[in-house]
Structure formats: C-alpha cells, structure tokens
Subunit: 317 residues, 2 copies
Amino acid sequence: MSERGSGLVGLGEFGLIDRVTARLSYGPAVLLGPGDDAAVVAAPDARVVASTDVLVEGRHFRRDWSGARDIGHRAAAANLADVAAMGARPTALLVALCIPPDLASGWAEDLADGLAAEAATVGASVVGGDMSASPTLTIAVTVLGDLGSRPPVTRAGALPGDVVALAGRTGYAAAGLTVLSRGFRTPRLLVEAYRRPEVPYPAGPAAAGAGATAMIDVSDGLLADLGHVAQASGVAVDVRRDAFEVPRQMRDAAQALGVDPYTWLLTGGDDHALAATFPPAVALPAGWRPIGGVAAGSGVTVDGRQWEGPAGWDHFR
Amino acid sequence: MSERGSGLVGLGEFGLIDRVTARLSYGPAVLLGPGDDAAVVAAPDARVVASTDVLVEGRHFRRDWSGARDIGHRAAAANLADVAAMGARPTALLVALCIPPDLASGWAEDLADGLAAEAATVGASVVGGDMSASPTLTIAVTVLGDLGSRPPVTRAGALPGDVVALAGRTGYAAAGLTVLSRGFRTPRLLVEAYRRPEVPYPAGPAAAGAGATAMIDVSDGLLADLGHVAQASGVAVDVRRDAFEVPRQMRDAAQALGVDPYTWLLTGGDDHALAATFPPAVALPAGWRPIGGVAAGSGVTVDGRQWEGPAGWDHFR
C-alpha cells in the first residue's frame, strides 16, 4: 500500500475522484471542469473533433514495464495524436478509469498526473471522467479538439503524384517494447520512447495549413497505417527504405536481439508519428520529411516491392 | 457461438469494427463519422458539453440479467441523461468496448444496435470508438451535446425558497434489479425499467429554458444526488414522501421481498430521472412535478427529518 493511498476500498469512488480532480488545472478552452454531470468545452469554430482510445492492462501496457505516470503520458498521447492527425489542436480529455479495488490511490493520482502533463504540452486539460472498480485495469480516454476553421484532413484525400511525408519517429517504441519483453531495461533511448512517446503534435495543424491531402496517426505501424490511407484514398503508396536512418542504439539492440530493425521502423506502432500526403508542389512544413510517393493503384510497397514480414498490429490477433 | 458471429478471435479488431459501424446511421450533427483518426461533430453555439460513464460487467450489468441490446440502451441512457441534466441536447456518442476474445461478434453488434437506438431517440449518433480484447467486458461511453445558446445548468445554483422538482421515475430500476438479484424475472414493469430506463431527455432543455437554478441526473439515488446539489449550492433540500406514489407492482414486489418501497423510490439509481430546482414563481414545464423545497442550511431531509437507511450507491463500497 502506497504511503499516499489507503486504496480505493477505503477512499470510495467519490473520495478518489476528489483526490484526482484536486490535482488538475484547466486551460482557457475549459468553460466548466469536472464535478458536475458534464463538462463544457469551447469549440470556437462550431465543430468539435472527437476520438476515443482504450488501453487494457496486459495488452496495451504492463505495470512492471511502465510507471503510472508513464502510462498516463502514453494514454493521453495516443488520443492527442488522433486529433493532431485530423489537423486539429487538442483541447480536452475525458478519462474512464477501471481499477482493481485494492490498487493504492497513489497509482490513480500518478496516472492522472501523467495524463494531465501530456495534455498540458499542447494546452489541453482533463475535464471529466468516470471511475469504477474492475478486475482488469483499463483506461479509456476521449479527446476533443479544435480544427481552427480548417477542413479536417482525413485518410481519403491522397492523390497520385503526392509526396508521402513523415513527422516524428517510428520504430523506437516498438524496439523499446521488444527490449522490455526480453527482460532488458536498456537502451534507455528505446525504453523511454516506449514509455513516453514523443509525438510531433504541432506538425498536424501545420500539415493541414500547408495543404496536406491525407493524414494519419501511426499507431498500428507505418505500413499498416499507410495501407489505411491507400485504401481510403483509392491509391497506391510506396515507401523508400533509404528515407529511414537506423539509430545506433536501435542497430545494436536489433543485432543483440536478432531482429531486422526495419521491421521496427516500418511496422512498429506506439510512437504516434504522423504520416501525411502533400501535393508535389508543396514545401513540407517544419518537422516533416519525405519518405515516399503516391501512385495510381492500390496497396503499400517498400522500394516498389511488397513488404515481407508482419504488417502491423491487430489487438485481437 | 452465435450464428452471426465467428467471434472476435476470427474477425479481428478491424473486422469487428467494420461489422459494427456498418450498422450505424448518422444525424445532421455528424460532419465526419467513424473510420478516420477522429470524428467531427457540429457544436453550433461554439461550446460542447461532454461526459463519460463506464460500465463494467458484474458491477454495472450482468449478461444473464440483460441482453446485449438492453445493455446498449442502458449504457447510452446513462450518458445521454448527463447531457440532458446540463440542459443540453445530446448530439454524439463515442464508445470504447473491451470484450473477451471468445465472445461472439453478434453480441457486440447487438450492443451497438442498443446504443444507436437509444441515441436515436434524441437525434444523437454513435460517431466513433475503439475496441480491445479484455478479460473483463467493459463499456466506456462518452457523450457530446449542444447547449442551444443557453448557459449550462449546474448543481450549484439552487437558492433557498426554490421548488425541488422531478422529471421521470425513481425506484423502478432499483426494484427491478432487486427482483432480478433474488432470481425472479417479473414483474415485467420493474425488470424492464432496469433493463431499459425511460429517461425524460427533453425535460432537461425544457427545465433550462424555464429557468431551473440547478439540475442533476439521478444516477446514485435521489437523496444522494440531491445531496450533491445541496453541497454544491450550499443549501438544504427537503423531499416530501407524499410526492411519491408507490405503483401496485412495486408495492407487491416490496411486500414479497420484504423491502420498504421508499428505499427504492428515494435511494435507487439507474432510472436516470432528472431532479432540478426552480424559483418559486416559475410554472414547472411539462413532465416536471414538485417533490420538495430548498432552504438555507445543508444536507437532505425527508419530511423534515434525516432519512434512516442506505443513502445511495458508491461503486467502490
């Protein structure tokens, strides 16, 4: 039992909610915060972007691999990245937390700190939520966002001739997860990338402003997610392997663990990079680099050929 | 295994999401529905009301007491009522569903049908969500709503001299739950009230329009929820027992089961009635009836005295 917590059994649902909400602070978009039947959030252009992601212990995280704060960062990042991938700015999070009754209350408070800290990096706030006891630790996060009067950038607008570009890293989190799953705790670069993804949030609205034709958050793995873009847009996407640098720590870890590092780079999820397509005449905004091209056809290729190996991640398989 | 479903193991996450979203339809507030990184929903007055509720199997529902469609209705109702209790009109739901991998896909489809059907009664739509395998069947729902240019009605505005009023039923769902928990399946009136609450959604915006000073969704039980209003408003609330009629089926069930029916009426949750306070000069809108009054002080009384018995419901106790 944590020194801070008497556990949920002792505090009760309302007591724990009070402890958690006492730790929060609110950005200017929050017109009414937690404590009532619902929150009220500003939606300046009369539209709101909304997305939900759920994390289940043992499937999306493990308490022996990540601290509560880390898990909060990662749960928030997965959602905030979805809003950025529409070209929008996140404004608010709502969190449904299901926790084993004997888990010390300090765990939930640390989780809330992580969620709030990650949201604060983009000026967003935790505005509401719900809590229940459950045998399975589960965190469902809903994010709201503001499009800033631009149309949303969907997966469906890529055109033949477009440039495929990437903002942020891929493969780092997947490599970190492999390292942890083999019982190691280093290299830190990879393990920390898994625990707290570094998401290029501002690159989303920047891409929308520059005229990106399609955009997606890389959560299932780059090739799988570009596959979603190819399918929704009715086009073919090709990725160039030489657009990816294998950092030293990743090369060393790959060698030690007997893994092809390009499997991490091209099919690893959880870094929440953003992938987008731009008309060829567009100068890519800061943070974006070209990694391939769009052509007539269907499917995703690497250097013109089908990728041999695992394509992505399906949480039911 | 259902005749419709090969189960989640066979379909995978994307396959099941496709099956579920194929069943949905969208109201005018849905600017972009499921299938992208996020949905886009209209927020006509540049604000959005948002709330999240989570239901955990064995704690908030049991599959042997309610069908998947019923559980969908109830999960949606719990959320839609929170928006109505702010004086707003629900526009959209997002659903995070965690399901045991061997559960037949027909179950998730039926759940989605129930969620969508309940949302459709107020013109709202399911616009997004997420799905994961989990050992514990868990449904987290987020609801969005539109205030129609009115200020939100919070729990904090009740004033001494106000009338306390109720829209909808209390105690029916709690009675139905007691009946089910004792192994009975009738009276149908009570069991069905538990399975599919009849929520007076339009009474929320109507109360806001009429000048309600405070409002709350009765989910923890009338006395507990009026306690939240009393605390947030810094007032005392008194409820009159004679404002409540005990219907015949409830009286019979109470007698057979050895329960005081007023325990159901005054402390039972899950019907999602709305309770509000109105200035004494206001003519109550249709669907509302007076049940008590507000005075200076603190706490909740029944006929001027403290209520002896269970006060409400805390999911951790």
